[in-house]
């Protein structure tokens, strides 16, 4: 029985799609047809899909990567968090980069009357079982509460945003559907259109390449236990930046590829004199160190206020390395807490500038963790603040000590060679 009804729905859809495709790419008809009566929450058109692909592929850190999407009238903000919560990748695609960008939050369509919406909903809900229906009801209740809260906060804010969560890997697969492996220029001809009709709908992407049309609908989760509130996102304290380096992406990628990625952690050293970025992998196969001094061709700029070093999990850094292929330049900043901010300037087609940012927390060693736990147990604010500054001083001192040790080791190594 269900099969038959599914078949019918599919037939309806195919006929409707054929009609839709004829309408959609004829701009006049598109503006005059039904969709004008209800305006989707978000609608955008881009002449070249590579704009989206080149900015989203770098932040896809794993298979089945989920991303938070914030749609505002300024542009699209994508936020991805690693499993360990020690890495965060974000990108912002400005509204001005789209051929058409419309964000309409005031128009809420009446779904029950619109046939198209029902058809699209059916696609997503065909496999809904009773359990799923119950879950959906709960979600809707939660959503209503959230919406109420959102309305309250939004009335205070002038900038309204739509937040949703979707599978970034799936989104990238859809965007790349016409991409042929060996040809680089394929994307010149792929035109894309994104529609997010309403809060219950799916994230829709229509792509057209040389007469062939692909329509994708990606299910959207708006409420989730892992929902990352803006205030819980990782933030980089740029007031305490100690070291900055701007380096050519190809150079950085070449340098990093020399390291032993089988090891668990990678040391990042930033030196003041001589100004240099060093990266070291300590693995079972040995220690490998790569130096990027200021006078190297690949390094554009290096500002160092003090020597600093920290350990980072190689699994986290690997995500950045994969992203380098999409960028022309990378800026790495390290602050007092040891957090890394790696900003990549993306190589878009045409003269378009966009950035992707990675924030990576250092891998604290066990001693530090214990100390931090003890300190955080204290209730009195004053004591806590004192401890914090003490913590920072200790860290600095430890860094310097570490460097002295390192230098001694280096000297010893040299002696061994001589």
């Amino acid at each position: 029985m269900t099969d038959q009804s599914n078949q019918q729905t599919e037939e309806e859809i195919s006929v409707e799609l054929l009609e839709q495709k004829e309408n959609q790419y004829n701009q006049q008809e598109f503006e005059n047809n039904e969709e004008d009566e209800f305006r989707p929450v978000f609608e955008a058109r881009v002449r070249d899909i590579s704009l989206l692909e080149y900015n989203l592929a770098p932040i896809c850190l794993k298979k089945d990567q989920m991303t938070k999407v914030l749609i505002s009238s300024n542009g699209l903000y994508f936020h991805v968090e690693g499993d360990s919560k020690n890495i965060q990748a974000t990108t912002f695609i400005d509204a001005s980069l789209f051929e058409k960008y419309e964000y309409n939050l005031n128009q809420k369509p009446n779904n029950d009357e619109k046939k198209k919406d029902n058809v699209k909903k059916k696609i997503n809900q065909e496999k809904v079982t009773k359990e799923d229906k119950d879950k959906e009801k709960e979600k809707e209740k939660e959503k209503e509460k959230e919406e109420e809260e959102e309305m309250e906060t939004n009335n205070k804010d002038s900038e309204r945003v739509t937040m949703l969560r979707l599978n970034l890997s799936v989104l990238l697969d859809c965007l790349g559907i016409f991409k042929e492996k060996n040809k680089n220029n394929n994307f010149n001809e792929t035109v894309g259109q994104i529609i997010y009709p309403n809060d219950q709908g799916a994230f829709e992407i229509d792509l057209e390449d040389k007469g062939v049309v692909t329509w994708c609908a990606i299910a959207v989760n708006s409420i989730d236990d892992n929902y990352i509130q803006p205030q819980d996102e990782m933030k980089f304290d740029s007031t305490t930046v100690t070291n900055t380096i701007v380096i050519d992406s190809l150079g950085l990628k070449t340098a990093l590829s020399e390291l032993d990625w089988g090891c668990r952690t990678i040391d990042m050293f930033m030196f003041k004199k001589p100004p240099m970025l060093s990266m070291q992998s300590n693995g079972q196969n040995g220690v490998c160190r790569v130096d990027c001094p200021l006078d190297s061709e690949a390094v554009e700029r290096l500002d160092s206020l003090q020597d600093q070093s920290d350990l980072y999990l190689s699994s986290l850094l690997r995500g950045c390395v994969n992203a380098l292929q999409y960028s022309s330049k990378a800026s790495i900043r390290m602050n007092l807490e040891g957090m890394l901010s790696i900003q990549l300037m993306i190589k878009n087609r045409g003269n378009i500038q966009s950035f992707v940012e990675f924030l990576i927390n250092p891998e604290n060693n066990e001693e530090e963790e214990e100390e931090e736990e003890e300190e955080e147990c204290e209730d009195e604010e004053g004591y806590y603040e004192e401890n914090e500054s003490q913590k920072e001083k200790e860290k600095q001192y430890r860094n310097e000590e570490f460097f002295d040790e390192q230098l001694i080791q280096d000297d010893q190594l040299e002696e061994d060679f001589i």
């Binding site: 078949q7 799936v170 007469g211």
Partner: protein, 273 residues
């Protein structure tokens, strides 16, 4: 039983075997006076893809001698990976010859070439084979299917393969729909995503001996198949086909004919119900 031949168009042979090896490891090669046929049907016991391929013998072989007690036809079963390996090695030389031989009472297809180093170094590769008797060969028959509901010419296979490649990442089965008015769609549907690709203005094949087809929008058919199987079939773009025809037989199979002037490859993909 006697067989020896020299190869004329090694490139075509390699491309063919490259397409076939994606489907199955083991294949039957049937040599007749006019044709060389490849049969990959996994003994017809599983619901795997079946491939029936036939090439005009004179487009591959320069000299060709087939002699046997069964009307001068010979059928052998061979591991296609081994065959492909031997053929690729043979690319270094201009002259390749095939011969059926027996060593230690085991049958082999001996592929010999003359390397161009050191004034010609003979290199012989013996590919182990099994002889298929005429009775056994009878058991391998092309599937007998009813007239297809829809027949449509496919767009460029390599382009199709890219699309199916991406769809494969997202779902396990794919629904193929086509009508007799030049439209075909590929779609996948899961809880997370649904994707549909629509091709328009496709041609329909004109079959010899049959009345000219009539464009009919209402004559449609749809079939659901395993995505991985469809993707394997699309590797046939290696042979640089002139045409590819898709036939939909409702509830039974998807048939893809890949055509060149001198050969055809027919793939039978079972439908998922």
């Amino acid at each position: 039983m006697k067989f020896h031949a020299t190869i004329h168009d090694l490139a075509l042979l390699i491309r063919t075997v490259q397409s076939l090896v994606k489907i199955d490891k083991i294949g039957i090669i049937h040599f007749t006076a006019e044709q060389v046929s490849f049969i990959l049907d996994s003994g017809q016991t599983t619901d795997d893809i079946q491939v029936w391929c036939s090439i005009n013998q004179d487009s591959i072989f320069k000299t060709y001698v087939v002699e046997s007690l069964s009307e001068n036809e010979i059928a052998i079963e061979v591991n296609l990976n081994n065959l492909l390996h031997a053929l690729k090695t043979g690319q270094v030389s201009n002259e390749m010859s095939w011969k059926l031989t027996k060593k230690d009472n085991l049958p082999y297809l001996s592929i010999s070439i003359m390397c161009e180093i050191n004034n010609g170094l003979p290199l012989v590769q013996d590919v182990p084979i099994q002889i298929i008797t005429p009775q056994n060969l009878q058991r391998h028959k092309e599937p007998d299917l009813p007239e297809p509901d829809v027949q449509i010419m496919l767009p460029q296979l390599s382009k199709l393969q890219c699309i199916v490649d991406k769809m494969k990442e997202m779902a396990n089965t794919i629904l193929i729909k086509a009508n007799m008015a030049g439209a075909m769609s590929l779609s996948i549907k899961t809880d997370i995503v649904s994707v549909q690709t629509l091709f328009k203005d496709l041609e329909h094949p004109q079959i010899e001996g049959q009345p000219e087809y009539v464009r009919d929008e209402n004559k449609t058919a749809e079939i659901r198949v395993d995505i991985k199987k469809l993707r394997k079939v699309l590797y046939s773009h290696y042979v640089n086909p002139k045409n590819a025809v898709l036939c939909l037989v409702k509830n039974q199979a998807l048939v893809v004919h890949v055509l060149l002037d001198v050969m055809y490859l027919t793939y039978y993909i079972p439908a998922l119900l």
